[in-house]
Amino acid sequence: MTSSVDPGFRVVRREDLSASAYLLEIAHPQLARAARPGQFVMVMSRPEGERVPLTIADFDREAGTITVVVQAAGKTTKQMQRDVREGSYLHAVVGPMGEPSRIDGVRKVVCVGGGLGVAPVYPQARAFKENGAYVIGVIGFRSSELVFWEDRFRSVCDEFIVCSDDGSIGIKGLVTEGIKQATARHADIDEVVAIGPPVMMRSCAELTRPLGIRTVVSLNPIMVDGTGMCGGCRVKIGGRTLFACVDGPEFDAHQVDFDDLISRLRRFKAEEQAALERWERSLAPAVTGTTG
């Protein structure tokens, strides 16, 4: 029919954080007003794309924008990395989804970000700080060239610890080393918030479990709609099956069945691999004169 062409949602800024990670700042004034730390959005870059769940890394109510950080891991996110620029339009952006983080009642908190997990934990650290809490930031990267948002994160923290696997920046070791330092110095930590790869979050949970420190993790299982409808994001929490999109995405780390989460993240591994290879082959210079 004669529906006018809908441009979608405008990307006002793109920043490359590393060779495989990029930041998109998206104009969506209403979403910027509604967003709270801990929530996520679903992004479709084009009509044929996937719905990609992305934790909100920042929101600017004045500018009317939200920020997401994307790891170029599979076909969809690599194609976005290639195609989405400042001034591009995304086909769909919907949210905020999920229950916001609990900020109140926490007086001393360790905010832990591993790799790209630094982005989603940042707005929480800021909210804790604004709420008067004592904030200890711990960020960890494989090595110094992957570090991003160090100054930005540091500015909302009372103490700040940088870790790297290879020792090229900060202390040598995983984020758990940073948490150990923090817990050694402070006996009155109310809460640890840890966001990053599942294996990292599991290590943090195992570290704080014997210390009896409440620990919160943000889970990012495979989802389709993000509104509680598909059940693809079901996670086992304390023996119960819950849906990360509507019951989470944040859960008590000591109750999370990480093995189940990690296993379910591999559901479409073969399809994802095939799609990526097919796409990468299609980028190679054509040997024959095909039109496809």
């Binding site: 029919m1 004669t2 529906s3 006018s4 809908d6 979608g8 949602f9 104009a27 969506h28 004034p29 209403q30 979403l31 007003r33 509604a34 929530q39 479709m44 009509p47 044929e48 794309g49 996937e50 719905r51 009317g64 076909k75 969809t76 086909h91 769909a92 952006v93 919907v94 949210g95 905020p96 989804m97 229950e99 389709v224 709609d225 509104t227 509680g228 409808m229 598909c230 059940g231 693809g232 079901r234 086992k236 099956t241 849906f243 509507v246 019951d247 189940d260 296993s263 379910r264 591999r266 559901r267 479409f268 073969a270 399809e271 994802e272 095939a274 799609a275 097919r278 796409w279």
Partner: protein
């Protein structure tokens, strides 16, 4: 008509509808039931006795004047037939396809007492398809009322309510969380049963009535119900968010990677077009042998999708017998035609893993039927020592849904003990001016029941707003500014209906 029709003069059997041959269906999502020609429709309309009893009208959840439209059709006045239907039902092309007519209008048809009932659904679909092809619409405008009404959800309940309120002069905005409107008609019901073009055409018709569709809008989270009725200036709200979170069995093995809900399967295949992977990015893995738990319409849809996506063996597991299966007769019949296997009286107890964390088999016990239970159906009871292992690599769970929690989490709406939105007999919720209907009130039901709820809500809202008099105002004034932002600044994606 000169000669009087009697049960002895009319054709004994209903006019058959051409169906896509089974062999052609295996790999295509093209519609299976091909519809009536005008000659078919005329022949079938002649089977209606126009009896004084009019049981069919009472059997229809929205009370369509069925003998009335069939009479017009019999006179070759298809436009007139459409106008009769359109006076009560908005989506004849949809309802003619997806209503369970055998338990509604056709189930009580007088002809059906003796012969096969009149094929009312097929006639309705014929009229609806003709209306789409000809671009007919039947809006009876009363003039703008000055009221803006928000509808939350663009499925059958939402659009039924939207259309009635638009006709009553309200400025109607429909909010939809997905990137395309239609709700279950879009994400749930597959194209071979309800083509997307039919959904597009019906939505397009509503857009031409002046109804605004705002996709990518998750009400409750982007703004709340209280904000809609408060600062956003809507005079009334109708909540029609539909089915909720998928229910699982609670048996061991359900989180294995080969286990998914029917909702997930259908949403991937239909809305996200995983069936066209890799042209579309969303993946789906079907495997060779699929076991589907449940025997409702959703289970039938899921199985028939699996057949088309190349599964070699698709089996339905249901703990009761065929007689108790909740699916529409035609869906069950089509699934059987397409080679789906049925294990009746079979209750899954455990899903067994392979060494990759996926599914190897499903362990079930056989059941027998005992005395009727609370649902009036005979209660299935396990047969001692009857456990069997059925090999499969995918398990689809299609046993229904629970209430979606989002509006409960984000508003003060009163919920019932199961988490659905509590309403009174007028479908009014605990918040003044906010009404609710469809699956989010009743739990999973049918498209036509949801439409019926939408129309009831429209009547209640019109009464609540005091409509009926001739209040004139610009309908576009209210509800247009949200949070001080004009419509074009808000970042909504405009509805795509092409």
């Amino acid at each position: 008509m000169a000669t009087k029709r009697t049960i002895r003069t009319i054709p004994r059997e209903r006019t058959p509808m051409t169906e896509r041959p089974v062999a052609d269906r295996a790999r295509t999502f093209d519609e299976v039931a091909c519809g009536y020609s005008l000659a078919d429709a005329l022949r079938e309309s002649d089977r209606c006795l126009r009896c004084p009893d009019r049981a069919c009208v009472r059997g229809c959840p929205v009370g369509i004047d069925i003998p009335g439209f069939i009479e017009r059709l019999g006179e070759k006045d298809v436009r007139g037939a459409y106008d009769v239907i359109a006076a009560t039902s908005l989506l004849p092309a949809v309802c003619g396809r997806v209503c369970p007519q055998e338990t509604q209008c056709e189930g009580v048809c007088t002809v059906g007492d003796t012969l096969e009932p009149v094929a009312i659904g097929r006639l309705e679909r014929f009229v609806g398809d003709m209306a789409i092809a000809e671009g007919w619409s039947s809006a009876s405008w009363t003039g703008p009322s000055g009221f803006a009404v928000a509808i939350v959800g663009s499925g059958p309940a939402g659009i039924a309510c939207a259309a009635d309120l638009a006709k009553a002069g309200c400025s109607v905005t429909v909010f939809e969380a997905f990137q395309q409107p239609g709700g279950v008609l879009r994400y749930g019901i597959p194209d071979f049963r309800l083509p997307n073009e039919v959904v597009d055409a019906e939505i397009d018709k509503l857009a031409r009535l002046g109804i605004r569709f705002r996709c990518n809008t998750l009400v409750g989270r982007l703004f709340t119900i209280e904000q809609l009725i408060g600062e956003m200036g809507f005079a009334a709200v109708f909540i029609a968010t539909g089915a909720g979170t998928p229910a699982f069995m609670g048996i061991p093995g359900e989180s294995l990677s080969g286990v998914l809900s029917a909702n997930e399967l259908l949403t991937r295949a239909n809305l996200m077009r995983a069936r066209d992977f890799p042209a579309y990015d969303t993946p789906m893995r079907i495997g060779r042998r699929v076991a589907v738990i449940g025997a409702g319409n959703t289970a039938m849809d899921a199985m028939r999708v699996c057949v088309r996506l190349g599964a070699e063996e698709v089996t339905c597991l249901y703990r009761r017998s065929r007689a108790e299966a909740p699916a529409r007769a035609e869906e069950l019949h089509h699934a059987e035609q397409e080679g789906v296997g049925f294990e009746w009286l079979t209750d899954p107890v455990e899903i067994l893993p392979d060494d990759q964390g996926s599914v190897r088999a499903i362990r079930c016990r056989r059941m027998q039927l005992g005395e009727p239970d609370a649902s009036g159906r005979r209660r299935p009871l396990p047969v001692e020592g009857s456990e069997v292992e059925l090999g499969c690599d995918t398990v689809v769970v299609a046993i229904g849904t629970n209430a979606n929690p989002i509006l409960g989490q984000t508003s003060t709406l009163a919920l019932d003990e199961r988490g659905y939105i509590a309403v009174d007999e007028d479908l009014a919720t605990s918040i003044d001016g906010v009404f609710a209907g469809g699956d989010i009130v009743t739990g999973a039901a049918t498209v036509i029941e949801a439409m019926g709820a939408g129309r009831r809500a429209a009547r209640s809202i019109a009464r609540y707003l005091g409509l009926g008099g001739a209040r004139r105002a610009d309908p576009d004034v209210r509800g247009e500014m949200l949070f001080g932002l004009a419509g074009d600044q808000r970042g909504y994606a405009r509805v795509r209906v092409a």
